[in-house]
Symmetry: none
DNA sequence: GTGGTCTAGACCACC
DNA sequence: GTGGTCTAGACCACG
């Protein structure tokens, strides 16, 4: 069963996208593997304190991408092929890194300063 | 006059927030200084190809934060004290770094891998 | 025993309501009579290829309307008095005719055109 | 402007489908013509006493079928070609007639009785 | 218990 | 003012 223990909601980004990204990133990290069971709509919505439909939207989009298989009346399962994983990894890393670099550069940081900030926050959140 | 030459719109984030962030980050980088003149709502909306109301909203929020002063019938000016700048710098850097670290950690990267990705993309976009 | 040979499922309407309507219309037509035995939930659900709970729901609603009597451990029987039948006949005919007339009139047909369409389809489906 | 004066909600059918059918049938009858303006989401939802999103769903589905063109910030217009109209007419007439005939036959009526009921209700609602 | 759909209200960008 | 999206709650068919 996929765990949402380390998941925390944050404002400014649609909730369903946060759930979506959490699952994609978990797949990239290996914490979520092919065939893993997902919490049901009700369970996860109760856990996160959001509406079941918000969870469902994330699940539906993932199913359209082929990352989830759902059968009415039974559990939803992750469906991750090797190709899917490598594609996901490339896409997500590129997107996140690009956004971070963009922000740092707009604020006038040098590459060294940016790296220093990353390293500082990395330790803090250990 | 504040330049928007290096401004590029990107999807998924409200436009008025992108304008807001662009000005705040420019202030942090020093590219935008206290007393700098802002383009009029009409001019900027035409320049960015967005609706004047969207620019108006960004300007209004900045004014509520005290980062802009507008005098009726005259131009809007950036209003940046030393305290404001240091506060902005701390807030923005913390927020952006935290988000980047969060993403990298969720994807299972080590600190060294994360730094490597940042450095790789830094060069690419030079 | 009530036969479901001429029953066909169609989309867009809840299945339990289709079962309900089938039995009511059969009663009105005389094909289903007072005292007729109904297939058990298990048998009917297998016959129609639907979930036993769906059949259960239809039977429960019919029982609440007094059109079915069930004795624990024995079969369910149709329970149709003369009054019930005439009421059903009036209700169903009025509802279906009203809906058809409404549709035809909304499409701008004259009474004669509507009748012509009914007659045409009547022959086709013989 | 398309009028909804003769529109009345009825239970048992999704509201968005009732709106959808009303517009299609109006097009078939000629009461609604190519280029006619539709009431805005807000206006129609207030008029019918339903949620704006329910109206929007009907409009969105019609737009996907090509029967409506919508531009953000301006009115939605009906878009009806001759081919579209003849297709709509055939589809709707077939569907409605088929459903009516099916109901009448299930109730054991003869063709003559069915026609008589149609004619009786036709007069009543004049 | 499961997933799927319908209705609902608030917010956003835009003309 | 317009249409588009996000979040929300109730109901349905199903295993």
């Amino acid at each position: 069963m996929v765990s949402f223990d380390s998941f925390t909601l944050c404002g400014g980004v649609p909730i369903y996208q946060q759930i979506l990204l959490y699952l994609k990133r978990g797949a990239v990290s290996g914490a979520i593997a092919d065939g893993d069971e997902l919490p049901s709509r009700r369970v996860l919505s109760a856990l996160l304190g959001v509406n079941p439909n918000t969870v469902q939207k994330a699940y539906r989009l993932l199913e359209e991408e082929g990352l989830i298989v759902s059968h009415t009346g039974s559990k939803s399962l992750m469906s991750l092929t090797a190709e899917t994983l490598s594609r996901l990894r490339a896409e997500l890393l590129a997107a996140d890194t690009k956004e971070a670099v963009r922000a740092f550069r707009q604020m006038g940081l040098t590459k060294e300063e940016a790296v220093e900030w990353i390293e500082r926050f990395w330790e803090e959140e250990d």
